[in-house]
Symmetry: C2
Amino acid sequence: MTELKNDRFLRALLRQPVDLTPVWMMRQAGRYLPEYRATRAKAGSFLDLCKNPELACEVTIQPLDRFPLDAAILFSDILTVPDAMGLGLYFAEGEGPRFENPVQDEAAVKKLFVPDAEGELGYVMDAVRTIRRELDGRVPLIGFSGSPWTLATYMVEGSSTKEYAKIKGMMYDRPDLMHHVLETTAKSVISYCNAQIEAGAQAMMIFDTWGGILTPRDYKEFSLRYMAQIVDGLKREHDGQKIPVILFTKGGGAWLEDMAATGCDGLGIDWTLNIGDARQRVGDKVALQGNMDPSILYASPERIRQEVATILESYGKGSGHVFNLGHGIHQFVDPERAKVFVEAVHELSAAYHQ
Amino acid sequence: MTELKNDRFLRALLRQPVDLTPVWMMRQAGRYLPEYRATRAKAGSFLDLCKNPELACEVTIQPLDRFPLDAAILFSDILTVPDAMGLGLYFAEGEGPRFENPVQDEAAVKKLFVPDAEGELGYVMDAVRTIRRELDGRVPLIGFSGSPWTLATYMVEGSSTKEYAKIKGMMYDRPDLMHHVLETTAKSVISYCNAQIEAGAQAMMIFDTWGGILTPRDYKEFSLRYMAQIVDGLKREHDGQKIPVILFTKGGGAWLEDMAATGCDGLGIDWTLNIGDARQRVGDKVALQGNMDPSILYASPERIRQEVATILESYGKGSGHVFNLGHGIHQFVDPERAKVFVEAVHELSAAYHQ
């Protein structure tokens, strides 16, 4: 494989010295970019875009051509795995993801299987290979998956929900079925992520979007336990390079120590924590990725720079910080503000790495 | 005023000995009850129901006739205050609350005023008086308001939102305007709550539904600071009785110590905390209200009882716990499951008060 020209992101995750704090943005390939909207219009639906490796590659690289980002992230959806399990993913206009065949009874649970990562999910691996070729070593490529718990919420509910009645009903009343769903999903995620790594993903991020809706006890039993299985099951080295793994539980700030104990390399944190406090809590066990409120990007350039400075100061000196937003960039943000943000991270972080 | 026949709720909030742990449910007067749906159909819209003291009284008392609850809560909406400021509250079918005149520029901010609690908001005080008369000392009546920050999110956004772009834009770019909105709103809330107390409310709860979307620094500056003003400004004694105040920031589990330092009497906590840990953190400074996941009510009666037992054990012996759900009861819960829950709290808690 081509030599990596910018390895700041990987080095920071492994807590090795860097010249500047690396930065990327969750959902950096997204609707706030006019060029993304143009490619998406060409592709048809959002799902058509995910399933077209050439166009998925195109949108993955678009933000890198605008901003000096230190990582690319595979353009895909977290629900590709359950879709490949035959649940029939589709997007109802303005209503988010839905499944034609949600998993709502014992028969449906028992039918679940581990999909073939180079079969039903081959289009994702094709996208990874295409992107790596096009990146040509410019920055590392991050692969990703939803966490088993997060995937299961959509699989059981069949759509987005505010109340999580169906999945919590299953969890509280039939924990045996719930664990069966999660075990099959965890095996699927491991196979899926390892295939991404073999196809060329250079780091892996697990998005646990809905772990934060659980009690501390249930979080450990139904979400973290399966993320720990994934951390254990992933290829952590490929092609002579370490493959760092980042776990991100939205709203999971209270559980950082437990998350770090899985043996992952980095933790994503949202803006409801002070990153300096988070660093004190996890010590030198893991790197931290985050944690600017994406809404800051609605403010003036001066205010954005000030917030970047505050977060850099809070983290303090030394490696182990990947700068990011605490959540995906919003669709109505002006790309020029995103540019101010990314450039400010590089400009203002040099002093912390001398 | 009539003597109170059941003062368990007030005693627990003041950390005085009780025979059983008191219990009530957020949104106990709500759509899960067929009798509520019938009264609401009679009233017309949700807002018509809030503005009709006789019918608001009817729905306030309905759950007490079904379950042995230890408190009633005024049936109203958190957005009555900004409505009385002339913002024009209405409910778009299936889309939540909206304002005809959101507060989105300096001119609109400067026009805000403190509404007359016995004038524009007189229908709320009429409801409080009617409910107190009908309750006839059965259980205490809780009055409430939204927190200034939470009210401001709706006032500035003009509707529910996922991204909070407008209010965070104002907060980050024009903190002077934001503080002006919050100051006027805090004064309005103080006047509104004190009028409720004079009309007969025997405890007060401040709902900070959206404080949890802030960074720790901004929570203190834009939400907690104004809740502290309210705690200071409320009549804490009326008619020879103490009036306890409860603060509830959804998702605010990280900030309990700061919330307790306001001098309030109780803190509401959601289910993402272990209540035993929360008790250790706040010591004997405040009572705790919560914290069962409302989704447990989808599970079997046995599972519900088991969860009640777990939470009682986690809190441990002694007073200072008001049992509640960590969030409002869901509309699709079977009222019989709510009954199992309420009865279990009384039955299983006796052992903790010997």
